[in-house]
């Protein structure tokens, strides 16, 4: 059970970081797991250099989904948007029990791969983030 509910998960699940909204975001997207009722909205502010300057999220769900969103926001803020895809794939590999590179703090989510029914809780925020980035189109530093 500790594998699923590590201290870091409980911490971020009950006291999520970077929760809130961004007015006039560069991109935003909603994610929803209708069967379990979890929903999330991710807001991004991308600076002209293509760096995720700020990321915020709103939503409700279980500790796993909220903790995953919170840890994701921490990991992504300050990172170039183009690096996020690789990070996503790495996290996805970890959550689906496949091989992955060391993910630092995000390793707290690794135990979830043992609970197939909860994997979708942890991936919701990540898929929502990727959809937000996709919707924004290719990040460009020209024309500003």
């Amino acid at each position: 059970m500790k594998g699923l509910y590590q201290d870091l998960i409980i911490d971020h699940g009950t006291k999520p970081r970077r929760k809130g909204i961004i007015e006039n975001p560069s991109a935003k997207e909603r994610g929803h797991n209708p069967l379990c009722g979890d929903q999330i909205e991710v807001f991004l502010e991308i600076d002209p250099d293509g760096v995720v300057k700020r990321i915020r999220f709103e939503g409700e769900g279980c500790a796993i989904s909220i903790a995953s969103a919170s840890l994701m926001a921490e990991a992504v803020e300050g990172r170039p948007a183009e690096e996020v895809q690789a990070l996503f794939e790495n996290v996805h590999g970890m959550l689906s029990g496949k091989g992955h590179d060391d993910l630092g703090k995000l390793e707290a989510l690794s135990g979830i791969s043992q609970y197939p029914m909860r994997v979708k809780c942890a991936t919701l925020s990540w898929h929502t983030l990727m959809a937000a980035l996709k919707k924004m189109g290719p990040v460009s530093t020209e024309g500003v």
Partner: protein, 398 residues
């Protein structure tokens, strides 16, 4: 009273606290054995073969229909075997109501319906332009009977579809009154008895209901089979539904004549062995008797309510005066899915989520609920184990 020895699941998991009978009940040995026996030594297709084995299987299948019908207070020629409650409701919606429904007509349902008693009617509304009228419930989870009577005054009401017992709240609806009110207005009524028939006596003839539906798998019987009671005068004025073999008298390429009575709605090879298991489950319940069953479950429900009441961080949702052993709750700070995962680690099985009743769970203002449901297989120790596991949830989320 302890019925755990009847359930072989406890041989595999001696410390299991299975508190999810409302989703599907565990199976007693007698049901499993009857089905195995049928497959091993009595099996053939029914209503077809001219050999002895098929004759025997047909007799067993029809005897099963008789047993289930009698269990529900029906005659065997009023009882259709279907794949379950969902299939039964879809059948009534399409074969009975669709031909008599026009744009602007109304179908009454309650706030506490399972999706299975919403979506088939919603679909009819999509098909015809009719509309669903919702009878609300109060904060205790009790049906607003006055609103129901008032809604029935509309001459546009063509059907009532009501749940007998709520799968989320455990509320036992005053279904006899609901039926007589509908009958007084000449409105046909279907009652969804999926959560009722394992926990209390139901007599469809005494109720005077038009359609009553239930599923074997919530009654200690197998999955994939259910009972649809149709009041006798409706058989002839219903269209055929699924068509094919078994439901016909005569087939040619330019003319088909159909069977009447239950076979009209049993196209294809039925779930023969399921029927045998269903009948055995009814026999199992009858052999224990309603007095014992209800006393057992009400004693456990009282014990559970008492145990939960001592926790200030737990709020029970659904406090109707008349309830079966179903208790939904929320716990401060902890999402139901986290509760269910942690409980599972302590071999306590509960359901968490919207319980296929999104409009009801939403009405109480929660995204999801945790639900404990009791059955014959439960003992006080299961509830003690639940309470201990809930303490662990608190510790983890402290």
């Amino acid at each position: 009273m302890n019925f755990q020895n009847d359930f072989p699941v406890y041989k595999t998991y001696p410390n299991l606290a299975y508190l999810d009978s409302a989703a599907s009940s565990q199976k007693p040995s007698c049901v499993i054995d009857a089905m195995t026996q049928m497959y091993q030594s009595q099996y053939a297709n029914v209503h077809r073969g001219l050999y002895q084995l098929s004759e025997q299987a047909t007799i067993a299948y029809e005897a099963a229909r008789q047993t289930v019908a009698k269990f529900l207070g029906a005659l065997e020629d009023q009882l259709v075997f279907t794949p379950g409650t969902t299939a039964s409701i879809n059948l009534v919606a399409q074969a009975f109501l669709l031909p008599r429904l026009k744009a602007g007509d109304e179908i009454l349902v309650s706030r506490m319906e399972h999706h299975a008693n919403i979506v088939p009617w919603y679909r009819l509304c999509e098909q015809t332009g009719a509309k669903l009228i919702v009878i609300e419930c109060d904060e205790l989870g009790q049906l607003d009977l006055q609103a129901y009577a008032k809604a029935l005054e509309s001459h546009r009401v063509k059907m009532v579809a009501l749940v007998h017992v709520s799968n989320v709240l455990g509320t036992i609806n005053p279904i006899a009154s609901c039926i007589s009110l509908a009958k007084a207005r000449g409105v046909p009524i279907l009652v969804d008895g999926a959560q009722a028939t394992a926990h209390m006596p139901v007599n469809v003839a005494q109720l005077g209901v038009d359609f009553y539906v239930t599923s074997a798998h919530k009654m200690y019987g197998p999955t994939g089979i259910g009972a649809l009671y149709i009041a006798k005068d409706h058989f002839e004025d219903m269209m055929v539904y699924q068509t094919g073999g078994n439901m016909i008298l005569e087939v040619d390429f330019d003319k088909v004549t159909y069977m009447s009575g239950p076979p009209k709605f049993e196209a294809g090879t039925p779930h023969i062995v399921g029927a045998i298991g269903f009948a055995k489950a009814c026999d199992y319940l009858s052999s224990i008797g309603w007095n014992q069953i209800m006393a057992h479950e009400q004693a456990l429900l009282a014990y559970l309510n008492h145990a939960l009441a001592s926790f200030s961080d737990i709020k029970v949702v659904g406090k109707a005066a008349s309830k079966i052993g179903v208790v939904s709750f929320v716990m401060d700070r902890v999402h139901p899915h986290d509760i269910a995962s942690i409980l599972d680690h302590h071999q306590v099985c509960i359901r968490a989520g919207h319980h296929c009743a999104m409009p009801l769970v939403r009405y109480f203002g929660y995204p999801a609920l945790s639900r404990i449901s009791l059955g014959l297989n439960n003992v006080q120790k299961d509830i003690d184990q639940l309470i201990t596991a809930l303490d662990q949830v608190r510790k983890i989320f402290a």
